[in-house]
């Protein structure tokens, strides 16, 4: 615990708050380019947030306090999640507060509150969205846990910082279990972030939307917070993926120079990841909602096989 550790923690949360919307803008820009549309500005998410923050928040007549509190809780969960995931440095004062399992719990907490808020108003769309979200959530969570466990088996710890330290700073080795885990993780994060094969983030068609259906009743600053939290969630998931499968470049404890170098490395990795996501979203079609359980079951099984392979090969 020293000043540098706190500085890196503060820097990490600040970077997450700024890079989250930028990442969303980047993905949207590439999607537009790949679909031959005129690309929107990279800073469009920030302008949207600004616009929403100065607008008046309209709340339904029958809304309970839960409805008003939910955006703040969701936003708080996502900020904390971004604080735990080692993006720039592994020397984080917040990291002992929550390991990989608690991180999954944190995402689950946000999901429960946003679903409750969606049902709180009593419109049919909100309920529909909440039910679909819970269906996807309860299938995605075990798969995510299994992915994190495959990484923990290698480093013998469930703490994310220890996992990254082990993976990044030992001699180069290829882990087949991580190959399985990375495929499973990609599938889970597509489902969890409401990306294309499972949900379309840009749609407002009644019958296909999941995430958008839940936040339909929000406006003004509440909507801004939820949109920001969605960006942060995408950022957090991308960073978990990078931390587990491409951990090189994250600074170790007591290395201010490495911390400065870690930021451009992170931006580069996120930029490549964002383009990959946009390409994947462009080439694949949205699947039927009843195919989603199969998709996520496949992700879960791949993660389990990853663990089995690790035990078999025993490296």
């Amino acid at each position: 615990m020293n000043a540098l550790a706190f500085a890196s923690q503060a820097l990490e949360i600040l970077v997450a708050l700024l890079l989250g919307p930028l990442l969303t803008g980047w993905v949207n820009q590439w999607r537009a380019r790949l679909q031959n549309r005129t690309a929107p500005s990279l800073f469009l998410p920030f302008r949207t947030l600004h616009k929403l923050f100065i607008k008046e928040a309209v709340v339904a007549e029958h809304a309970s306090p839960l409805f008003r509190a939910a955006p703040y809780i969701v936003f708080g969960c996502m900020v904390l999640a971004c604080g735990i995931v080692p993006t720039l440095s592994t020397d984080l004062p917040l990291a002992p507060a929550a390991d990989a399992i608690a991180l999954v719990g944190l995402f689950a907490l946000a999901r429960v509150f946003i679903s409750l808020a969606a049902m709180d108003i009593g419109t049919s769309f909100g309920t529909l969205g909440a039910r679909r979200e819970m269906l996807i959530g309860f299938l995605a969570e075990p798969a995510l846990l299994m992915v994190l466990f495959s990484a923990s088996l290698i480093s013998k710890s469930t703490s994310l910082t220890t996992i990254v330290e082990t993976l990044a700073h030992r001699e180069l080795a290829i882990y087949p279990s991580l190959a399985f885990a990375s495929v499973a993780f990609t599938m889970v994060s597509l489902a969890e972030n409401a990306r294309v094969p499972v949900d379309n983030p840009t749609t407002h068609l009644e019958l296909t939307m999941i995430h958008e259906a839940m936040i339909l009743e929000y406006s003004g600053r509440h909507l801004a917070l939820i949109e920001w939290a969605a960006s942060l969630k995408l950022f957090a998931y991308s960073c978990i993926g990078l931390a587990l499968f491409f951990p090189w470049g994250v600074a170790e404890a007591q290395a201010p120079l490495a911390l400065i170098l870690a930021l451009p490395v992170l931006v580069l990795k996120l930029a490549i990841g964002g383009i990959a996501l946009a390409v994947f979203e462009t080439v694949s079609a949205k699947m039927r909602i009843f195919r989603v359980p199969e998709f996520l079951a496949a992700a879960f099984l791949l993660a389990v096989i990853g663990m089995l392979v690790h035990i078999l090969l025993g490296t």
Binding site: A173, A179, I305
Partner: protein, 219 residues
């Protein structure tokens, strides 16, 4: 260097297992053939790597043979067959796929347990992958049992042969060349015969569903 090569062989073995699972979960016949081609290519890469790591030049020959047969010739034949049978976009209506995948996990655990004591006896560079090869054999076998149409069954048979080949490479650095040539020829002839069969089934029943064969009794 050698450790890294051996890890790379392990990675390719895992890719084979992943492809086996992808084949089980695949509904469209065309994608199934693409997956089979990819499996063949992975097998070729793994064979070349094992050959390089252990300095066994005869493995290069068998890799070349595998490439010609399983990446070029057989996929080509299969493509022609589905074109002429007009089942390019056929979607199989079959048994619940998630159930099959869970059964598949059980098979993987069984195979891994079975292979563990055998692998301890072996001293080859890729001994750990024997369990994976065995799991692939069992998975392809399950695919043959559970598919209703003729072409996926043939692909299951071929992918089982792929897995057996990989098992041989992993456990004993490949079979003797004579045996290998014999098997390659057998597979090729088998494919041709099965191709004829497919057209015959099609002509008799107007469908490739082999369940029709069960009713082939003189009454």
């Amino acid at each position: 260097m050698n450790a890294l090569l051996s890890q790379f062989v392990n990675l390719l073995a895992s890719a084979l297992l992943m492809l086996s699972f992808a084949m089980i979960s695949q509904r469209r016949i065309l994608s199934l053939i693409h997956l089979f081609t990819l499996q063949g290519a992975t097998l070729v890469a793994a064979t070349i790597l094992v050959g390089y790591a252990t300095n066994q030049p005869h493995l290069y020959f068998s890799a070349g043979l595998t490439f010609l047969l399983k990446v070029v010739a057989i996929p080509l034949l299969l493509h022609r067959a589905i074109d002429r049978l007009n089942v390019r976009w056929d979607i199989e209506t079959l048994i619940n796929i998630p159930t099959m995948m869970i059964v598949g996990i059980g098979l993987v655990i069984f195979a891994f347990n079975l292979a563990l004591p055998i692998a301890k006896l072996s001293a080859t560079v890729a001994r750990g992958t024997l369990g994976i090869a065995l799991a692939c054999v069992l998975l392809s076998f399950m695919m043959m049992i559970t598919r209703a149409k003729a072409i996926p069954q043939v692909i299951g048979f071929l992918s089982m042969e792929n897995a057996l080949f990989f098992a041989a490479t992993a456990a004993t650095y490949g079979m003797p060349m004579v045996v290998e040539l014999g098997i390659a020829l057998d597979v090729l002839v088998g494919i041709l015969i099965l191709g004829v069969f497919m057209f015959q089934i099609r002509e008799q029943f107007d469908s490739l569903d082999i369940r029709h064969l069960e009713r082939l009794k003189e009454e």
